[in-house]
Subunit: 324 residues, 2 copies
């Protein structure tokens, strides 16, 4: 059985054998650079792990896995422009190192190359199905990004809307990656749906946990600055839950801090204290657990021997127990 590192090696080998075209260099150099900022290649790895529930040789799924990774990097590239983010993982973003124009066009062509990889694989039946899944998910991701941007200027965001936003913006792509992996391996539609739901629900749990870690993570382990969401007045799960459940006094106090500048002295501690006395960390934990339990129920329901599920199960469990 393949383990995760060996699958990541296969992905890296496929990427090395299938680079972007050489020219125009001004178009493709930023694409190559973006991929070096990209991170852990979680999505293509999940896709291959879903494939391996049903079949052994992952060869056929590699172009699809790489398509998902390119799509993810396209979204990061354009999101960085939209968020005016100067850095990603401590290095200059594409539009900072080059300019916005470069960021737009290199992102566009990266998205189209994702479709190109998707369409190189297998039978026409498979290609047509994969393109349809990919389209559905890609549209949802754009819609999620739009909702996220809308929320910045809205004062009446509801918790249910927030969950829907993170579902669209991040969770459906995890679900879609698993679904596409299963489709590549010829899984039946019930198993494909269970894997989609597994990824979608685990993705929501992951994002809720991310909100918790941003405020309560161990500064030594958390990759970003702990308290960053509070400083930036982000309407996270923690904030929205407080606004739905806390006393009037606490809601007013939180609203006050949410309208102060990023570096307001005492801000992070004060907001954290409001969360604490409203048991927000415990409520986050329970909410995350609820999605997590539902997610693993779907993995359970997939009709393959439990031994085949071990690596996928362990990989997602570790993701949901991470402290950074």
């Amino acid at each position: 059985m393949h383990n995760l590192p060996s699958l990541l090696d296969r992905i890296a080998a496929y990427a090395a054998e299938n680079p972007f075209p050489d020219t125009p260099r001004e178009l493709y150099e930023p694409c190559d650079y973006m991929l070096t900022l990209g991170g852990k290649r979680l999505r293509p790895a999940l896709l291959l792990l879903a494939y391996k529930l049903f079949a052994d040789d992952v060869e056929r799924a590699l172009p699809v896995a790489w398509a998902v990774e390119l799509f993810h990097n396209f979204t990061l590239l354009h999101d960085d422009i939209m968020d005016a983010a100067p850095l990603r993982r401590g290095r200059p973003t594409v539009h900072t190192r080059w300019n916005t124009t470069t960021g737009i066009l290199s992102g566009d062509v990266m998205l189209i190359h994702a479709y190109r990889h998707l369409a190189t694989t297998g039978s026409p039946d498979l290609v047509a199905d994969l393109v349809r899944i990919f389209n559905r998910v890609a549209i949802e991701v754009c819609e999620g990004q739009q909702y996220d941007m809308n929320f910045e200027s809205r004062q009446d965001v509801q918790l249910a809307e927030y969950i829907r936003m993170i579902e669209l913006k991040t969770a459906v792509l995890l679900g879609g990656a698993l679904e596409m992996g299963a489709r590549c391996a010829g899984a039946n539609s019930a198993d494909r749906e269970h894997l989609y739901q597994f990824g979608r629900l685990a993705g929501i749990a992951f994002q809720i946990q991310d909100d918790l870690l941003d405020t309560y993570g161990d500064p030594a382990k958390f990759g970003k600055q702990v308290g960053g969401d509070i400083m930036q007045n982000k309407k996270t799960w923690l904030v929205l839950k407080t606004l739905e459940t806390a006393s009037l006094a606490d809601r007013e106090a939180l609203n006050h801090w949410m309208h102060t500048p990023q570096n307001e002295p005492g801000k992070v501690e004060a907001v954290r204290a409001i969360f604490d006395r409203n048991s927000i960390p415990e409520l986050v934990g329970a909410e995350k657990q609820r999605y997590q339990t539902e997610a693993f129920g779907h993995l359970q329901a997939v009709q393959v021997p439990e031994t085949r599920k071990a690596v996928l199960k362990k990989t997602v469990e570790e993701l949901l127990e991470r402290e950074q």
Copy 2:
């Protein structure tokens, strides 16, 4: 036999029956707006005309025609941002009416919806082939836009590079539209290739003519300001041909004007005089005719009765004889 207006009606009806999703409104309203700026729907019309060389009911080709129109509008939307263009056809561009962030994300989702329409049609074989043609052309269009931007800062652009740039940026999409229409109708690969070459070569002829009209068009008929390319120091076919063929004195004079501001008094007249005394208008006409003749040779070679070709032939002939 369908004529062009009835095909445009079919396209409009398909678009009306297959709108963007209702929400998020902030994402899709700019897409709808962009389509109102979009123009004559030449590309989907050409696609349907190619289809009708081989088959009668265009129903099956409508989603593909609309995909091409959405793709074209996506490129216009993002190009307007990259060119910092305030107006399109006299109305505010998307990034001007909203903002750059909106322009980027609405363009992205419009591109993905193009793929969605593409994948709704016909058999998996057809979908897989169409996606591959679409990918190839879409990548080339992005590469052409990159070369176009590169040329702005380069002083050594060669005429052959310029032709290659306009081929990628605009001509391959015309060729691809015809090729996709033929593929939808089940045409053989030889006829599909002839139609692709017909569109590609006619597209180059069209663009060369566009350069001519920008400087020599009838102000009463030309849609944009005559002389606009000269004012903006654009490296058009006219400029590059002059730099390749004129005397040193004229090359130096042209280079001088190409480094003056947009509103430099006497600029348009002076540059036009340089073109005139180097017979550039005649050379443009001959070059355009060369591509046009080669283009129609490919249409001639398509193995269907000449009567079936009448509408397509007339449509492209009129495009290449237009004065505005």
